[in-house]
């Protein structure tokens, strides 16, 4: 059984379009994250949610909007896509992420490869 799953795996789209990436985890974790990995493999956190509450919101354009319908899902919606948005987007989850003191290990999905033309 897949622990953290993302759809779609590949996404090719035109500049200016709006697209969504979905993420689901079946680990029973409380916290979910979105990361962006650029062409140089640098991995940077974008958002985290704990029980549907936004916890971390890094300096990300407001064209990116995460949505968490429940604690097992964290979707990423991107408006007005730009060339620079091309990257691999990873979803991750961890247990008790909001509890101060002990950051839990994060478990990653397989990634969504976004290409903006």
């Amino acid at each position: 059984d897949t622990a953290v799953s993302q759809t779609p795996k590949y996404l090719v789209t035109q500049m200016g379009n709006d697209k969504s990436i979905k993420c689901e985890q079946n680990l029973g974790h409380d916290t979910m994250y979105w990361y962006k990995q650029d062409s140089k493999k640098f991995l940077k956190i974008m958002f985290s949610y704990n029980n549907k509450e936004l916890i971390i919101n890094e300096t990300v354009p407001n064209r990116f909007s995460p949505k968490s319908p429940d604690k097992a899902h964290l979707n990423l919606h991107i408006n007005s896509l730009e060339l620079g948005d091309s990257a691999v987007y990873f979803c991750a989850s961890s247990q008790d992420g909001k509890t101060r003191g002990l950051p839990r290990a994060q478990y990653f999905g397989p990634g969504t490869r976004l290409l903006v033309l």
């Binding site: 916290t31 640098f42 956190i45 916890i55 003191g101 002990l102 950051p103 290990a105 999905g109």
Partner: protein, 113 residues
């Protein structure tokens, strides 16, 4: 602010040889440290983690890492690599104040037959 440095962008070793991947961190207190592996076209898989206690940490796939506070290092080792170990390896440090994990820029491991 915390940071992670992986000095080697690429490392090449022969199959069966030993491996050490370097990781140095910058953090004001005792860090939480992780090693992840990313195979081509795949997501990141947790190899091992250090939170406290024994400074030599055992992980999956025969990997281990040693936390050395005096050197601010958390190097990853494996006594004998296999061709399937070819991948990108990321060291990461966790912040005690929030949920952030800061990743290094990765080391690409190549295995010679």
């Amino acid at each position: 602010a915390q940071s992670v440095t992986q000095p080697d962008i690429h490392i090449t070793v022969s199959e069966g040889a030993s491996l050490e991947l370097r990781c140095n961190y910058s953090y004001g207190a005792t860090p939480y440290l992780f090693w992840y592996v990313q195979s081509p076209g795949q997501g990141l898989q947790l190899l091992l983690k250090y939170f406290s206690g024994d400074t030599l940490v055992q992980g999956i796939k025969g990997f281990e890492a040693e936390f050395k506070r005096s050197q601010s290092s958390f190097n990853l080792r494996k006594p004998s690599v296999h061709w399937s170990d070819a991948a990108e390896y990321f060291c990461a440090v966790g912040d005690r104040r929030d949920d952030k994990i800061i990743f290094g820029k990765g080391t690409r491991l190549h295995i010679l037959p």
